[in-house]
Structure formats: structure tokens, C-alpha cells
């Protein structure tokens, strides 16, 4: 197991003798090697706090965390780890190359290979021309990309990214998505949190939905695909034969009093339409939604929680 966290709690005291804030409440999950794990949630859900506890910046008020079997307070737990923080900041008087050299050196990369690795990564992240420039002169997107280079120079097995897409333009985002997929193909483990559900959906094997410090759901890709029956048909006079035929396409049927609801993907829709036509099944309603995750997300949050979040 790359990451294990067990019943993590984190509370903060605001100011001197102020209120206690429960940033994270009873979160437990595991990330397997080679997995891409995403955490989504509204602002203030505790995602960043959780990640910071993994990194050892904060200590959980209770509960256990292990990275590669080691506690985050053991610096060696970060030997094979690359981290990119939210809104990353680096020493502005240094160049990207110097930063990467530092990162490589400290993580035990062979000094002879460092130069090649640096130029390769810079090329990959489109920063070749700016490698020697001081970070002071970088745009936000460039800093983000430099941060990714910093995190990957030592070829870590575990990569933790806190809101990696923030600050990137569409080109940058594409770069990142390609990168994640590339890393995944190499068998790396990736943990990241994000607001942008599209990317999370596309990239992740499993997704955790957090709200108000607590973990609401963990969905696997299959769940998603399942729930990714993006088309909802309401039909009536469904015969047994018809339902069997429709069932064989892989769609899910839900029988209700007056009607049957068919959940299917857009791919299967064509076949189903043929079947309904062939069997004279009446379609009273077709609903095409493209945001299942969003639906689940909002579901998980539910109205009263959203209110609470708004007031906080």
C-alpha cells in the first residue's frame, strides 16, 4: 500500500482560546500502488489539510497515517515522493534548473544523470527557454509547471498534487493530463485533489468525495461507469422480451409502477432505440445528463450541508 490513513481527525483552534474548527473528521482510505486517486470537495472540505498531513506539515489530532509503511514524521517517507502544493511558491531568486538540481540532489539522484533529466523534464513541460531564468520572472502557469518539474525530477513512485490544475491555461492543463496518464502507464501512484470534476473523472481510478472535513463517498471507476449511464429513458409497455433484450445491451432497468426507467450510456442508446422501435415500446422521456459525477457530488453534499458550507 502506498498510502494508508486510518480514522484521521484534525482540529484547529482559531486564535487565542477561540473556537475549535474541525478541519478533518474521521477519514480513512487506502491508496494502492499504481492507482490514480482523486479527492474532490468544495472549498474548505479539508482536502488540502489532509494532503498536508500526509506530507508531514501538519500532525493529525488523532489517527494514523503511513506512506510506504512509514509515518510522515519520518523524513524517509518522502524519499520516493513528489509533491506540488496549491499555489506553489519557490525561492524567487533561483532558476528552475537550480531548484531541480536541489530536488534531485536531496532525493539521491545520481549527479551524472541529473543534467539529462532536467532538460528532458523542462522540454516536457514547455519550459526549455526559461530554465535559466529566475523564478521571479515566471508567470503563474510557468511556476506551476516548474513545480511539477521539481516534483518529478527524482522519478518518485508516489506523486501528491494539491489542486494541480489551478493557474494553468488549457494548454497547460492538457500537458498535465497527458503527464498524469503517462505516469500512470509507468505504474506510478498519483494522489491529487481538485475542484475540476471533468479532469478527475477522466484520470482517476478511484475518487473520494469530501465535504466539511468528512469523507462522503469513495467511488471506483466502475461505479462511475455504472453511474455513467448518462441516458435516462422512461418507457412504458415494456414486455419481458423487450426488457431482456434491453438488459443484454448492458443497460440497467429500474421498474416502477407505471413505467420502467432505463439507464444506459450513449453508446448503447442506438441499440436500445432499435429495440424499442422493433418492440413497439413507447418512450415517454429521454434524459441525457453528462455530469454524473457532478450529480453525485452535489448529492453527497446535499442541501443543508451546502448551506452550512455557505455560512462558514
Amino acid at each position: 500500500m502506498s498510502i494508508i490513513c486510518n480514522h484521521i481527525d484534525k482540529t484547529f483552534k482559531t486564535g487565542l482560546g477561540g473556537k475549535t474548527v474541525h478541519a478533518v473528521t474521521d477519514v480513512s482510505f487506502e491508496v494502492s500502488p499504481g492507482e490514480v486517486f482523486g479527492i474532490v470537495g468544495p472549498n474548505g472540505a479539508g482536502k488540502s489539510t489532509l494532503l498536508k498531513m500526509f506530507m508531514g506539515f501538519l500532525r493529525p489530532s488523532s489517527g494514523e497515517i503511513t506512506l510506504f509503511g512509514k509515518s510522515p514524521s519520518d523524513p524517509l517517507s518522502r524519499m520516493n515522493l513528489g509533491y506540488l502544493s496549491e499555489n506553489p511558491c519557490f525561492y524567487e531568486h533561483l532558476s528552475a534548473i537550480e531548484l531541480m538540481q536541489f530536488s534531485a540532489r536531496v532525493s539521491g539522484v545520481d549527479s551524472k544523470k541529473t543534467k539529462n533529466k532536467i532538460s528532458r523534464l523542462l522540454k516536457l513541460m514547455n519550459l526549455e527557454h526559461a530554465g535559466k531564468r529566475k523564478l521571479r520572472g515566471y508567470s503563474k502557469g510557468m511556476v506551476q509547471r516548474a513545480g511539477i518539474c521539481f516534483a518529478l525530477i527524482h522519478d518518485p513512485d508516489l506523486i501528491v498534487l494539491d489542486e494541480p490544475m489551478s493557474g494553468l491555461d488549457p494548454i497547460g492543463r492538457k500537458l498535465l493530463v497527458d503527464l498524469v496518464l503517462d505516469l500512470k502507464s509507468k505504474g506510478k501512484t498519483i494522489l491529487f485533489c481538485s475542484h475540476i470534476l471533468n479532469d478527475v473523472e477522466r484520470l482517476c481510478d478511484r475518487i473520494a468525495i469530501m465535504c466539511n472535513g468528512g469523507l462522503k463517498y469513495i467511488l471506483s471507476h466502475e461505479n462511475l461507469i455504472e453511474q455513467g449511464k448518462q441516458v435516462t429513458l422512461s418507457v412504458s409497455n415494456l414486455t419481458r422480451e423487450g426488457s431482456e433484450k434491453i438488459g443484454s445491451t448492458g443497460a440497467i432497468l429500474k421498474v416502477e409502477e407505471n413505467q420502467t426507467i432505463i439507464f444506459c450510456s450513449q453508446k448503447q442508446l442506438k441499440n436500445i432505440m432499435n429495440i424499442t422501435a422493433a418492440y413497439g415500446i413507447k418512450t415517454s422521456n429521454i434524459d441525457v445528463s453528462s455530469n454524473t459525477l457532478e450529480q453525485l457530488f452535489l448529492d453527497a453534499i446535499s442541501v443543508d450541508v451546502v448551506e452550512e458550507v455557505c455560512h462558514v
Binding site: 523524513p75 519557490f90 531568486h93 533561483l94
Partner: protein, 271 residues
């Protein structure tokens, strides 16, 4: 070890490219050049005055560096979250403290070394131009010894900076505390001897005075012990044993401060 070294060099690089450093260096160079103007004004003890001026400039530059550039380097790290780029690597909190400390020291040493070389050149020029009659008490060994003592003071002072930086991330508070320790450290010897004299003369000692004289004086670092400018300007050499024990004092006190700093920093939460 390698990590501490890497962080030290990183800190050094970041500091040396800070504009403030340029300003301080330029100011110091100006001051040293000004010493040339003063050669006509002083009678006998030109050697003394030159040593006073050069060493004082170096000390002052070091103080500016320590109180403004170095404190900033520490505070900015936490403020701007650049500390994450270090702590996300396999650094322990203690290694971080040590790495930053050695980086600060390196910065002060290199800058002051440049200044002392420059001042040596100036003294050399003036000494050979003007009759050595006015430099009769001057001694190069004493001059460099005073410089070495000054460096050891900065070893201690920067440990003080690190200590307060680990407690608070406000650069203002760190500045106030460190400055207070500096002033106290420079004055403590005099204050204690004043109290002792008073006790002798008036034969009464209030319990407060006694407490200060006996115990509190050892809490603060005795920084005035590192100031041998006056001895150097009159060509008086300090013995090797004295030198060694002073250097030892500096190292031990700094080590203590760093120890506490890393203890405190280990407990610290970085939001």
C-alpha cells in the same frame, strides 16, 4: 549531511541575490573608501583609527545583514510557503533548521570576507604611503584576530535569529527580540561590573541585583567578549587559550540555541 549542505547552499544563493545585500555591500565599500579621506586628520594614532573604522564598518555591515537580510530569509520562508519546497523532500525539521542556519552563516562569512579583503587593501595602501610612524601599534595579526572574533559573534547572533524565527513567523517580532538580545549581550558585562562595584562601595545588595549578577547574566550571550576591536587597534594580541575558550563558548551557545530551535520547530504546524 548532504541535505544540510544542499539547503545551506540554496539559502546562500537565495540570500546573495537579494537586492538588500547589494545595498549593504555598497554602503560598506563607501565607508571604507571614506577612511582614506581621514588620513590627514588624525595625528599619531592613524593606525588605531583605521583599524577602528574598518572593523566597525565590517561589524555594522554584518549587523545589517543579520538583522535585515537573514531575518527576512527565515520569515519569508514560512510566510510565502517556500518552506514546503524543502520539507516536501526527505528533510527532517532539524535538518531544515541546520541547513538554513549554515546558509545564513555562509552568507555573512562570504560578505564580510569580501569586506575584510577590501579593507586590507586600503590599509595596506595607506600604510605604505604614509610613514609607518603612525602605524607603530598596528599589527596585521591583531587585525585579523579581531575579524575572526567578529565572525564568531555572528555565528552566535545568527543562532539567536534562528531561535526566534522558530518561535514566531513574524519578521518584526524576530527583529525586536534579536535586537534586544544583541543590545543586552553587548551591555551585560558592563552592567554586571557596575552592580558588583556598587555592592562593594555601598555594601548593600538588593536581591534583584544579586539575582542578575549571579544567574541572569549567564542566560544572555556575552557578546561584548567578541569585541576586541580596541585591543586590535592598539596592537594587543589575545592569547590562544582565551581565543579557543571564546570560540568554544560561541559554538556551544549556538548549538544550544539550535537545539531548542529544532525542538520548537519540530512541534510546529505549517498551515
Amino acid at each position: 549531511m548532504k541535505r544540510i549542505q544542499a539547503l545551506a547552499i540554496l539559502t546562500f544563493k537565495e540570500g546573495i541575490r537579494d537586492r538588500a545585500l547589494y545595498g549593504i555591500t555598497i554602503m560598506a565599500v563607501m565607508m571604507l573608501l571614506a577612511t582614506i579621506l581621514l588620513t590627514n586628520l588624525f595625528g599619531h594614532e592613524l593606525g588605531k583609527v583605521m583599524v577602528d573604522l574598518c572593523l566597525s564598518t565590517i561589524a555594522f555591515a554584518g549587523l545589517l545583514l543579520t538583522f535585515f537580510v537573514n531575518i527576512n530569509l527565515m520569515a519569508k520562508d514560512i510566510d510565502k510557503r517556500t518552506v514546503y519546497s524543502v520539507l516536501s523532500k526527505p528533510f527532517s525539521r532539524t535538518e531544515y533548521i541546520m541547513g538554513k542556519y549554515f546558509g545564513l552563516i555562509l552568507l555573512v562569512f562570504v560578505s564580510l570576507f569580501l569586506l575584510v579583503v577590501f579593507s586590507t587593501g586600503i590599509i595596506f595602501i595607506i600604510k605604505s604611503a604614509d610613514a609607518s610612524l603612525y602605524f607603530k601599534d598596528f599589527s596585521w595579526i591583531c587585525y585579523f584576530q579581531a575579524f575572526a572574533f567578529q565572525l564568531m559573534m555572528f555565528v552566535l547572533l545568527n543562532a539567536v535569529i534562528i531561535f526566534f524565527s522558530s518561535i514566531t513567523s513574524s519578521s518584526f517580532l524576530t527583529l525586536i527580540f534579536s535586537l534586544s538580545v544583541y543590545v543586552t549581550g553587548q551591555s551585560i558585562e558592563e552592567v554586571v561590573s557596575f552592580f558588583k562595584k556598587e555592592a562593594l562601595v555601598y555594601n548593600i545588595t538588593s536581591p534583584v541585583n544579586q539575582f542578575v549578577v549571579e544567574y541572569l547574566q549567564y542566560v544572555f550571550p556575552n557578546l561584548s567578549a567578541f569585541d576586541i576591536k580596541m585591543f586590535a587597534s592598539h596592537g594587543k594580541l589575545i592569547s590562544i587559550s582565551h581565543t579557543l575558550s571564546l570560540f568554544g563558548y560561541s559554538i556551544v551557545y549556538s548549538a544550544l540555541l539550535l537545539f531548542f530551535a529544532s525542538l520548537i520547530f519540530n512541534k510546529r504546524e505549517l498551515k
